[in-house]
């Protein structure tokens, strides 16, 4: 029997907040209550949660684990470890691998590597089109039958509106969600940063907000036409938030996510020419940050997702136009969200746990209330602890965090995945 007990914490889930101990036996919550009997400690791993919040495990809708294809930047094991240390018990692995996740063997490989790592559920997303090339539909039905729930060509938007319409129509009876990387590529050729004052001064090609907003608008209208749901990945502009807000007011089945970097960092950082700040979509303006925060606060944006995008150090030590876009996110997301968002803690955790779990079809195994019989996927974090981001101390194989040297509050203390403590006192157990 594998027994764990989490003592002296404050349980916070979608049903509310309460002081409670949580006992776990063989992957399931066996008891929740204030001051559970000390007898339960016998033979159990006892996790101290004094002063801590005990929440459903976090769910990241958007990570790049780079395996298969770019194992020098990250592997499913190292990415899973970063996830566990960040409080995540499930991550959705984007399909821009090599080969792309557009066939059952690749999907099964990613799942198998996730199980082998055993640090969190690694949930592969499928491609909308074969090879993410935007030309032919990927086998949505076969992959749906194999349990894939989210499909995206992330890294690329589906450019052809006719193809996107067919994909949505075809998807409707399958119970799947298509997730869009919104970028009209003819407007972003060669772009390395937000189009505005800063890129004008620095002499760098700009990525206009419009390139995102046009595709958000197009897909909202395709949702209206087809009735099929769409999830918007990494919204970055104020107008995108407005468009999604209006679509939701119309009752359309759309959901959206935003990344911590898009509500904490601006394009002015690119004046350093440090490619650690290059990301797609790009860092935008203060006004956009305010709009993303407002969208999270009023629920227009459902989820906080990291877009964790490791890149080997040498690839980021290059001029901006030559470096690949993307930044690490898994180990800093919770702290940044709690520190930077003026939202009730329960709403922050909702956006990091049960709301994304629902979008990915993972609820209630992930994100479900912490009650007797529930799957034991749990995060424990200490709101009083502070820590400094040190790139070489992160679990990722890569170092490209834009928050190096920043001191953050809210440290993940323990993570329990499937009833097993995979992180204890901030240390990964495998």
């Amino acid at each position: 029997m594998n027994r764990v007990i989490i003592r002296n914490g404050t349980v916070l889930d979608s049903t509310g907040e309460r002081r409670a101990d949580v006992a776990i036996v063989d992957g399931r919550v066996s008891a929740v209550g204030a001051s559970l009997s000390a007898d339960l400690d016998d033979g159990a791993t006892v996790l101290d949660a004094s002063g801590c919040f005990v929440t459903p495990g976090l769910v990241d809708l958007h990570v790049h684990l780079r395996e298969p294809g770019k194992e020098e930047a990250e592997t499913i094991e190292t990415g899973s470890r970063a996830a566990a240390l960040g409080g995540f018990t499930a991550v959705v692995a984007m399909p821009n691998t090599d080969p792309a996740q557009d066939s059952l063997p690749t999907i099964e490989f990613v799942r198998a590597q996730g199980r082998r790592a055993g640090l969190c559920d690694v949930v592969p997303a499928g491609c909308i089109t074969v090879g993410r090339a935007g030309e032919h539909l990927a086998p949505l039905g076969e992959l749906a039958a194999a349990g894939v729930r989210l499909f995206t060509d992330d890294g690329n938007g589906v450019q052809d509106p006719g193809l996107m319409r067919r994909a949505l129509e075809y998807a409707r009876p399958l119970g799947i969600t298509l997730a869009q990387h919104c970028e009209v590529s003819s407007l972003t050729r060669g772009a390395v940063m937000h189009e505005g004052s800063c890129c004008s001064r620095l002499g760098l090609p700009g990525w206009p907000a419009l390139a995102e907003e046009l595709m958000v608008h197009r897909d909202i209208e395709l949702v209206r036409l087809t009735g099929s749901p769409v999830h918007f990945l990494h919204l970055s502009t104020a107008r995108s938030v407005d468009l999604v807000r209006a679509a939701k007011a119309d009752g359309l089945p759309v959901t959206a996510e935003a990344t911590p970097h898009h509500f904490t960092l601006t394009d002015e950082l690119l004046a350093s020419f440090d490619a650690v700040y290059k990301v797609n979509p790009p860092l935008r303006t203060r006004a956009d940050i305010a709009a993303i925060k407002a969208g999270l606060a009023d629920g227009t944006i459902d989820a906080i997702a990291t877009d964790h995008a490791p890149h080997a150090p040498e690839t980021k030590e290059a001029p901006l136009d030559q470096a690949p876009p993307g930044m690490l996110g898994l180990q800093t997301a919770l702290a940044l969200a709690i520190t930077e968002l003026a939202m009730p803690l329960a709403d922050v955790v909702a956006a990091l746990s049960w709301k994304p779990a629902a979008i990915a079809g993972l609820f209630p195994r992930h994100g479900g209330p912490i009650v007797e019989g529930a799957a034991a996927n749990i995060a424990v974090f200490d709101p009083a602890a502070s820590w400094t981001v040190q790139p070489d101390r992160l679990a990722s194989k890569s170092r490209n965090t834009p928050y190096a040297g920043r001191t953050l509050r809210d440290m993940v203390r323990h993570t329990v995945f499937d009833g097993t403590p995979v992180v204890i006192d901030g240390v990964a157990q495998r």
Binding site: E195, F273, A318, P319, D321
Partner: protein, 317 residues
Amino acid sequence: MKHLLGISDLDAATIIRLLDLTDHMVEINQRPMPKVPALRGRTVVNLFFEDSTRTRTSFDTAARRLSADVMNFAVSSSSVNKGESLRDTIETITAMGVDAFVVRHKSSGAPHLITGWTNASVVNAGDGWHQHPTQALLDCYTIRTRLGRRTTFDGLRIAIVGDIRHSRVARSDVEAFTTLGAQVVLVAPPTLLPPAVHDWPVEVSHDLDGTLPTIDVLYLLRMQRERMTDALVPSLREYTSLYGLTADRAARLAEHTLVMHPGPMNRGVEIAVDPADLPGATILEQVTNGIAVRMAVLFDLLGSGTDAGNESLGGAS
């Protein structure tokens, strides 16, 4: 100064100081033996990742006239083509013991990155669309000598015409000219302007003809043929008819107005008259001044503060 990366690093007093130093260099260049020992024992590396025979030759000449040792390192003959990273290239050359890198790179910001990988000085000889500070300094020097403006450009009105969006020369010149007090007008179709110039200290015009009579300096930028394929202008013919210096327009310039160009010129495109026929044309003078300005910059970075340097230059002036 440790590095010269962009004009925004310089205040008006520093620009004037460099232009004053350039006067000394001009004097040296006019001697029968135009060479001084100011940078003897110093090593300057010309590291050009992008072809530019003109700028490289100008820096090369400037360094040699100050008696520096010069290494020329061109991308086509370097290990960069074998996949070596920029950082490894810089660290390798630094290990050979050099005092300054003169860097031309097609990527904006490359010289900034290089400062992190070497203890040598870095001179930006043009990076992407970003900056070309020695060009701006030689342009300022040319205006100052031709129009007799020793310490300030207050009251001067300068039009920069053409492909400002893709121009490191324009970005550097705007900063340098306005820092010295000039009014700057950017004249271009909206497609050839940067996406946001509302916070630049300039006026914007799409009417060259209306602007011509009001200016003291007409600065023409090179119009590159590949802009046509990006749908930025319909044709070179239309560009010339709207924004080129035609004979008709040249006739309407004020007598004292300078006509400047960073080179190389596209004759028949941005300049559809023979500059030899324009009394205000400074194009070859800019090239000559370029050597003196680059001598001043190299001396300021590498020579000042050392007794040998000051003595050798002091004896020269």
